[in-house]
């Protein structure tokens, strides 16, 4: 206990592996530039400039990910792991974020502009707001927020110590809290969602942090491999470990929306601007699952028999709760929110599989789910009446008659959610269930199978509404013809959904190259 006294303080110059960190750095750098753009450029140039920056950053980062393929090392002085899973997740996040960004960039479907409040500070319904709307001002601050958020997401699954992970968690969360509150329409709901998300998010990160503190107390370090070593040596108080793991898990499970930490999900998904909902549903889930896997497999692999039953319970509960609650929803966004909870439950099967197959299965599932989710929410933005998006299910009746193509695309996404073969969703389900049974988690797979059968009901119900029912009488919603942005987003999502469904080997090849975590 005299480290300070006798050691000559040495300061090692940290080494930073820029190539490996490039994706994160590019996005975060772009975010900074984006902030500067907000500060310096006049209003009318901002939007186009921001879009250039965003897409350039996303593409550049993706190129960097591809360039870094095969890397399997711990960088940034032991804080960040750039390994197969990281790169795969970063790549997926970037692709999903790009698709989501396309939807966010849409400004044709809402006659008043894009889908964000022109000035978030203006009171809903106030004169100010009307002026801003009349002037056609657009909210461009969402783009730096978006970039920071993506940056956090890229870092989150790559973190190899709990502190970096915590910082990444906050970097991805804080912008999201804000973005959720930026909806142009139904601002009351949007703000409420924002508040709830913030309060609960902060609450959960406090748990995460305290858990970190306890694990630090146990191991004397917050690095994942350090914790793993400590566990192997069984040094210290196991009570601290168990409590620490429990609290840590709360933070992580909150982000993936697992029951019983899921209750924010429907409220936030419903209140948030739909394009943001799609983005966070898809990307946050990938990032959070990455972090969960890394913590559980790298740091806590040694006590897997301790946390496995807990994850069993959580997985089963998540599947059941998500499915059960979704059954009677009447709002499409809320329904998709509960569906995302149920899907998280299926993905957790990959976690309890305790194997690299489980990891790979979940990764495939995440990609499949993310693509379908972004696509589905993109379509939700298109179905509108005079007050904005028409999200009540009854308003979707007969959509197949009026807009067969859009309805067909939505039906495809729904079938993917339901896990019908030849769609991406089946590929994902097959992969996690296989891993689950291989890992000896057969009971949980059976629960999953039954839950997916029940879950099929609410997906199918929407198809029934769209295709088998008569449209509402006059005044019902209609499908707006979007600009190239959303069209491209939906097209890409449809194409990927089909390709992953029909030729699953493509994604399996990718994911098996992802290999395992570096320690």
């Amino acid at each position: 206990m005299n480290a300070l006294a006798d050691a000559v303080p040495k300061f090692d110059i940290p080494t930073i592996e820029y190539a490996a960190l490039a994706p994160i750095l590019i996005v975060l750098g772009a975010a900074v530039v984006s902030v500067l753009v907000e500060a310096l450029l006049p209003q009318r140039y901002r939007r186009s400039t921001q879009l250039v920056i965003v897409f350039a950053a996303l593409v550049g980062a993706f190129v960097a990910v591809v360039a870094a393929r095969g890397t399997q090392q711990i960088v940034a002085m032991g804080s960040v792991a750039i390994d197969g899973p990281t790169l795969f997740m970063q790549g997926s996040i970037l692709v999903l974020a790009a698709i989501a960004a396309l939807v966010m960039a849409e400004r044709k479907v809402d006659p008043a502009g894009d889908s964000f409040a022109p000035r978030a500070s203006a009171l809903p319904g106030s004169e100010d707001e009307q002026v801003f709307t009349r002037l056609g001002w657009l909210q461009t601050e969402v783009w730096p927020l978006f970039l920071f958020c993506v940056g956090g997401m890229l870092l989150f699954p790559a973190s190899t110590d709990l502190l970096t992970m915590f910082v990444a968690l906050e970097v991805l969360s804080l912008p999201l809290y804000v973005m959720v509150g930026l909806a142009r329409r139904r601002r009351l709901l949007s703000q409420e969602a924002s508040l709830k998300y913030f309060v609960l998010g902060a609450f959960s990160s406090a748990f995460f942090l305290y858990g970190t503190a306890l694990l630090y107390g146990y191991a004397g370090t917050v690095s994942l491999s350090g914790i793993a070593d400590a566990l192997t040596n069984s040094a210290g108080d196991t009570g601290l470990v168990l409590a620490g793991v429990g609290l840590l898990a709360v933070g992580l499970l909150f982000k993936i929306g697992a029951a019983p930490f899921h209750q924010w999900t429907p409220d936030v998904y419903q209140g948030a601007p739909t394009s943001i909902t799609g983005f966070m549903a898809a990307c946050t889930k990938v990032a959070a699952f990455g972090a969960l896997f890394r913590v559980l497999y790298v740091a806590l692999g040694g006590i897997r028999w301790d946390w496995r039953p807990m994850m069993y319970v959580i997985a089963a509960l998540t599947m059941i709760v998500g499915t059960l609650f979704a059954l009677t929803q009447t709002d499409i966004k809320r329904m998709l929110a509960y569906s995302s909870i149920a899907q998280a439950g299926f993905m957790l099967v990959g976690v309890v599989a305790l194997s690299s197959q489980g990891l790979q299965g979940t990764l495939v599932y995440l990609v499949a789910y993310g693509i379908a989710t972004v696509g589905a929410f993109a379509i939700v933005t298109l179905v509108r009446d005079s007050t904005g998006e028409a999200t009540h299910l009854s308003q979707w009746a007969g959509l197949g008659k009026r807009s067969p193509v859009v309805a067909a695309a939505f039906a495809l996404f729904l079938l993917a959610f339901a896990g019908i073969p030849l769609t991406s969703g089946f590929t994902g389900k097959f992969a996690v269930f296989t891993a689950g049974i291989q890992g000896g988690a057969t009971p949980i797979v059976v629960i999953g199978v039954v839950a997916s059968a029940v879950a099929a009901f609410f997906y199918v119900r929407v198809i029934v509404l769209m295709f088998f029912n008569e449209p509402q009488a006059e005044g019902g919603p209609s499908v707006v013809i979007p600009s190239a942005f959303t069209t491209l987003a939906i097209t890409v999502a449809v194409a990927l959904t089909v390709v992953i469904g029909v030729l699953p080997q493509l994604v399996f090849t990718l994911v098996s190259q992802a290999g395992t975590f570096v320690r």
Binding site: F166, E170, L188, F203, Y210, A213, Y216
Partner: protein, 99 residues
């Protein structure tokens, strides 16, 4: 003094914070309770640093403070907005989204 006692204190503070989140309605107070939980963590970090005799815990505490500060910025902004809209800072009144 046994550094373990600081740990117990931090646990008590954390619990108080969590309890506060559950019982208080005012968003600002709720938020302060969250801050209390974060600071309880800080206390735990520095105490453990003391116990383990390495500096990591203390450094972490600084990181946490920075993050908490950022959280305050975002949090207060959100609470402000909703207060202006609703003329109330009660977390219970924001109750349109349910079921």
């Amino acid at each position: 003094m046994n550094p373990a006692n600081y740990i117990y204190l931090s646990a008590v503070l954390f619990s108080l914070g969590a309890f506060g989140v559950l019982v208080r309605r005012n968003a600002i107070v709720v938020f302060m309770c969250v801050e209390l939980m974060l600071n309880a963590s800080n206390l735990a970090f520095v105490s453990f640093a003391r116990i383990h005799g390495n500096l990591d815990g203390q450094v972490i505490a600084f990181f946490v403070m920075v993050v908490a500060a950022a959280e305050v910025v975002v949090g207060l902004a959100i609470i402000m907005t909703i207060f202006r809209t609703r003329r109330s800072a009660s977390v219970d009144e924001a109750n349109l989204l349910k079921y």
